[in-house]
């Protein structure tokens, strides 16, 4: 498949671009932050977002979605990045939806996917237990009981956890922390007694939560996929999440870069436009290159996951590692080249820097993915 968007994908991008720029620019995130909004995202915007069909982008038409692919989800994510739009799209409509598509029974899919597609249900993956991502380190215990399982343990960095209706919880049914096998995925209703959720106000003013499951009972039917083999659907969900997060980082990097280059063309110091200084030109040109390489890596990974090519997992790691380092450089240069104003809260540059930091960490940072790549290539 050619590494360019098709006409239909281009149209989807244009509609996401104008919708988000009109309805959810960075100033909306500022408002959510400053008013200490209880949800951390706009419910009314979410409704409109769903009416546009975006919430169903990955979900097959049979379950009420648009039946498109990750390339299309990535196109939406890039625009979300450009505008720093706060929404459960990544957690629910990309990551959770992918887990359900990968491992759900027909009954599970029919019960949940249409609601995710319509935006009325928010689902999220609960995988991390430590400050650094590593699904192998899953320790949350799932013990067999007479009627199903009992889950006991905690999760952290659960995206949109405090507004989620449904958790997809990675738990250990056998084996020890650090081992590959023995992880099982469970569907847990957020209202279950014994589930406590602590909203974490994070640096980027987006949502995440700490979730504690205190010996909660779940029925047999709560198992998503096969017992002890949860790593497969988990990897599918994580790959989708990683590449979607990479697309969001690409959107941020591209937006920040555009703002910075514009500033270089306007700002005067030493009686010159600062964009005339070669020291700044070379750094800008280098950053441009990095963003272009990131764009290729992200698009390729999205396509490869859609096509199910065997190299897709490695390409997802390339995308996540590359996007993580590029967006970091982009926001750092963005602040530095804007000078003092780049440091002010009044200016938006800092919002991008904070969001980039969170996305870099989410589902494994650049060094985690470089290491994964090395493991895949066996060195």
């Amino acid at each position: 498949m050619a590494l360019v968007l098709t006409e239909e994908q281009g149209m989807l991008r244009d509609s996401a671009k104008s919708f988000l720029a009109d309805n959810a620019p960075v100033s909306e995130l500022r408002k959510l932050r400053d008013t200490r909004n209880a949800d951390g995202f706009s419910r009314s915007l979410w409704k409109q977002f769903a009416e546009m069909g975006f919430t169903g982008v990955l979900i097959p038409e049979a379950y009420g979605g648009m039946g498109l692919g990750l390339v299309e989800a990535g196109v939406v994510m890039e625009e979300i990045g450009r505008n720093l739009t706060a929404s459960p799209f990544l957690a629910s409509n990309v990551v959770a939806a992918t887990a359900l598509l990968a491992a759900g029974t027909e009954a599970q899919k029919q019960a949940i996917l249409p609601k995710i597609a319509s935006g009325e249900l928010i689902a999220t993956l609960a995988v991390d237990e430590h400050s650094k991502h590593n699904p192998r380190n899953t320790a949350l215990k799932a013990e067999k009981s007479a009627s199903g399982y009992t889950l006991d343990g905690h999760k952290t960095f659960v995206l949109d956890g405090h507004v989620a209706d449904l958790f997809i919880v990675a738990a250990r049914t056998s084996g020890a922390k650090g081992e590959l096998a023995g992880v099982t995925l469970f569907l847990v209703d957020a209202k279950t007694k014994g589930v406590s959720v602590e909203r974490v106000v994070m640096v980027d003013a987006h949502n995440a939560a700490r979730v504690t499951l205190n010996n909660i009972p779940v029925p047999e039917s709560a198992v998503l996929g096969k017992v002890g083999e949860g790593l497969l659907p988990l990897n599918a969900a994580l790959s989708a999440g990683r590449v979607a997060a990479s697309a969001e980082m690409l959107g941020i990097a591209d937006e920040v870069f555009a703002r910075t280059v514009n500033y270089l063309k306007e700002r005067q110091q030493f009686t010159k436009i600062i964009g005339e200084f070669q020291a700044l030109q070379h750094r800008a040109a280098h950053l441009y290159c990095e963003i272009e390489f990131t764009r290729s890596a992200v698009l390729k990974a999205l396509q490869a996951l859609d096509e199910g090519t065997p190299t897709a997992i490695g390409l997802a790691s390339v995308a996540k590692a590359k996007a993580g380092t590029t967006v970091t450089l982009a926001v750092q240069e963005g602040v530095q080249m804007h000078g003092g104003i780049g440091m002010t809260d009044e200016f938006e540059m800092g919002f991008f820097m904070k969001r980039a930091r969170v996305l870099q960490e989410l589902f494994g940072d650049a060094t985690y993915h470089a290491d994964l790549l090395a493991q895949l290539k066996k060195y």
Binding site: M1, A2, L3, V4, L58, P60, G67, L68, G69, V71, E72, V261, L264, K265, K272, I273, G275, E276, Q278, Q281, H282, A284, A285, H286, Y288, C289, E292, F293, T294, R295, S296, A297, L299, K300, Q303, D306, E307, L315, S317, V318, A321, K322, T325, A366, T367, H369, A370, D371, L373, A374, Q375, K377, K378, Y379
Partner: protein, 401 residues
């Protein structure tokens, strides 16, 4: 889920036919990895084929027009579409087929002639390039006109039906082995520096042309100094308009940059991580025993993969009519820097073995010499700084750039 767009039936047929033809016609010796300079065929009047297979392979590919698959058939090309050429390249890679010939004529002069040449010039020069019969060199840089190429001083005086050329070129790759030269000369010394330059072609055996190799830090060199002393060049060998040679030169440079940028792509060579594992050894978990080196290699391979995908995307964009000529500077800049980084890491992994300068075991210091050679990547074809200037000016439109 969206699925891969199934290949159009006619392309699928083309792919199958191409694979079958390659299976039948590419000699087994031409499907082994290139390990020395002898394995590379440059063609030309003085060329001695290293094996019958090398000769046969070139002849068969040239007969199909597949040494230059997208050129028109009347000029010795294969007349293939962009999609077909991509398939040919993919199928050649799948069978590890070597390039039948390497040539500045194919990479650089050909595209410029196709755009700026007259019909007669195309008929005269392109088919021999396609067949690998004439080896070309590039007369661009001069001792005081390197990065500032347009300040070149080699003069061509108008003598009616011909020019008389006097001056000196430097860094002329393979000038001592080339048959013809494509050369920038100053035809109007009074004009501003970009507007008095012309682009001419002449035979290296013309009286008055001499060359002298330049020894480099790698102990070897493809580079020469080239001197012109009253060299007669027929007017019919002027490409493009008189005094407008800079347009031809710039166009050709974008192709040179893509060619040099291509070295950022490791191609069929061994992945760095595997090389390091062989050299440094493995720890108990089977990882490269030097964890810091392993991390550096892993980070390098992320960038390498992103670069390779960008080469692919650039081609796809060009085919979709979304290309930007200045993008060749992006590929040149990053490819050159990546190739330097790769060789630094290889030297690091190789340790003292990599320092061996003269022995059969080290293939006469092949790695060390290759490492030293890469230092030129960010200088030749426009320095990395010049490429960044081009990006700042032509892509980012920064002021005063």
């Amino acid at each position: 889920m969206s699925t891969a767009m199934a290949e159009k039936p006619e392309l699928k047929t083309f792919r199958e036919a191409t694979r079958a033809w390659l299976e039948q016609n590419c000699p087994p010796e031409m499907r082994k990895p290139v390990t020395s300079e002898d394995d590379v065929c440059w063609g030309g009047r003085q060329w001695k084929f290293s094996s019958d297979a090398q000769k046969v392979w070139l002849e068969r590919m040239a007969a199909k027009g597949w040494t230059v698959p997208t050129w028109p058939k009347e000029y010795g090309g294969g007349g293939l579409s962009g999609d077909e050429a991509k398939i040919l390249a993919q199928e050649m890679r799948a069978l590890n087929c070597r390039a039948p010939v390497q040539s500045f004529g194919i990479w650089m002069l050909g595209p410029a002639l196709l755009k700026f040449g007259t019909h007669e010039q195309k008929l005269e020069f392109l088919p021999p390039i396609a067949r690998g019969e004439i080896r070309w060199c590039q007369g661009y840089s001069e001792p005081n006109a390197g990065s500032d190429l347009a300040s070149l001083q080699t003069r061509a005086e108008d003598k009616g039906d011909h020019f008389i050329v006097n001056g000196q070129k430097i860094w002329t790759s393979y000038a001592d082995k080339a048959d013809w030269i494509f050369c920038l000369v100053r035809t109007d010394p009074q004009a501003k520096k970009h507007t008095g330059i012309s682009f001419v072609l002449f035979d290296m055996e013309t009286p008055g042309v001499t060359t002298k190799p330049i020894l480099l830090i790698s102990g070897k060199s493809p580079f020469c100094e080239t001197f012109f002393d009253n060299v007669r060049v027929e007017k019919k060998n002027l490409v493009g308009t008189l005094n407008a040679g800079w347009d031809v030169a710039k166009y050709l440079l974008t192709h040179e940059r893509e060619m040099i940028g291509g070295i950022g792509d490791r191609g069929a060579a061994k992945p760095l991580g595997v090389f390091a594992l062989e050299q440094v050894g493995a720890d108990a978990q089977g990882k490269v025993a030097d964890p810091v080196l392993r991390a550096q290699i892993a980070q390098f391979e992320v960038d390498e993969a992103a670069f390779r995908l960008t080469m692919e995307r650039a081609m796809d964009m060009a085919r979709a009519g979304q290309g930007n000529p200045a993008f060749s500077s992006v590929l040149k800049y990053y490819g050159a820097e990546l190739n330097k980084r790769r060789h630094e890491l290889m030297m690091q992994a190789g340790g003292s073995d990599a320092l061996d300068w003269e022995s059969p075991r080290s293939r006469e210091g092949a790695l060390a010499r290759a490492w030293l050679r890469t230092k030129g990547n960010s200088i030749e074809g426009g320095t990395s700084e010049v490429q960044l200037n081009v990006i700042a000016k032509r892509i980012l439109n920064l002021p005063g750039a």
